[in-house]
């Protein structure tokens, strides 16, 4: 597609439930990133996929968070047993041969 697509755009879930967030990067972009923005905070790095290399998971806040990227394209971020502090906007970005990212519009996750 023309841009980075994220779904759903909004998600409200009950505490303790699992959620899956999806990211469709720009076709041909080898790098894919997940960030989140909590209220009043900056963009917090979560995980980074680059081609076939092992992902950089150094930003994942706990083992409840995981992500995969299938076939070097679509990525899914999974949060298990959601907590209220997981409420945030989750942003996906992809990057090609230049050094800038193209971001999606994000998924606003609210844990009630």
């Amino acid at each position: 597609g023309a841009g980075v697509s994220q779904s759903p755009s909004n998600k409200v879930t009950e505490k303790g439930k699992d959620v899956e967030l999806r990211c469709d990067p720009i076709s041909g972009h080898t790098a894919l990133y997940w960030y989140r923005q909590s209220l009043g905070q900056g963009l917090e790095f979560l995980i980074y996929f680059q081609g076939n290399s092992a992902p950089d998971k150094s930003g994942l806040p706990s083992d409840r968070f995981s992500a995969e990227r299938t076939g070097g394209s679509v990525s899914t971020l999974t949060i298990q047993r959601t907590q209220q502090e997981d409420s945030a906007v989750y942003l996906c970005a992809s990057s090609g041969t230049n050094y800038g990212y193209t971001f999606g519009s994000g998924t606003r996750l609210t844990v009630v």
Binding site: L91, G100, Y101
Partner: protein, 115 residues
């Protein structure tokens, strides 16, 4: 430990005047810097960047200045327009570690341009 700092949470300027948005960083490995602009309910969009081999990069109304010795960069918008009202994020990367290396972002600054 915040490696990219935007110490002012907000800035308000009059339309037509200059907006100066500041950013400081602590990691001396950073060698590429970017500014992103974000409107509500949208993802950040790339605005302008600068490599550490330069001290200035200009694109229309937007100019980014880099002072490596002070580990400081600033974004100047002249003249400011009401449509510039948004959150501006400063970001840094150590591209010498490899292309597409991850960006470290500041907390952002909310710019309001008054008509």
């Amino acid at each position: 430990d915040q490696q990219v700092k935007q110490n002012s949470p907000s800035l308000s300027v009059q339309e037509g005047r200059i907006s100066i948005l500041n950013c400081d960083y602590t990691n001396s490995m950073f060698d590429y810097f970017l500014w992103y602009k974000k409107y509500p309910a949208e993802g950040p969009t790339f605005l302008i960047s600068i490599s550490s081999i330069k001290d200035k990069n200009e694109d229309g109304r937007f100019t980014v200045f880099l002072n490596k010795s002070a580990k400081h960069l600033s974004l100047h918008i002249v003249p400011s327009q009401p449509g510039d009202s948004a959150v501006y994020f400063c970001a840094a990367s150590a591209i010498s570690t490899g292309a597409n290396s991850k960006l470290t972002f500041g907390k952002g600054i909310t710019l309001s341009v008054r008509p």
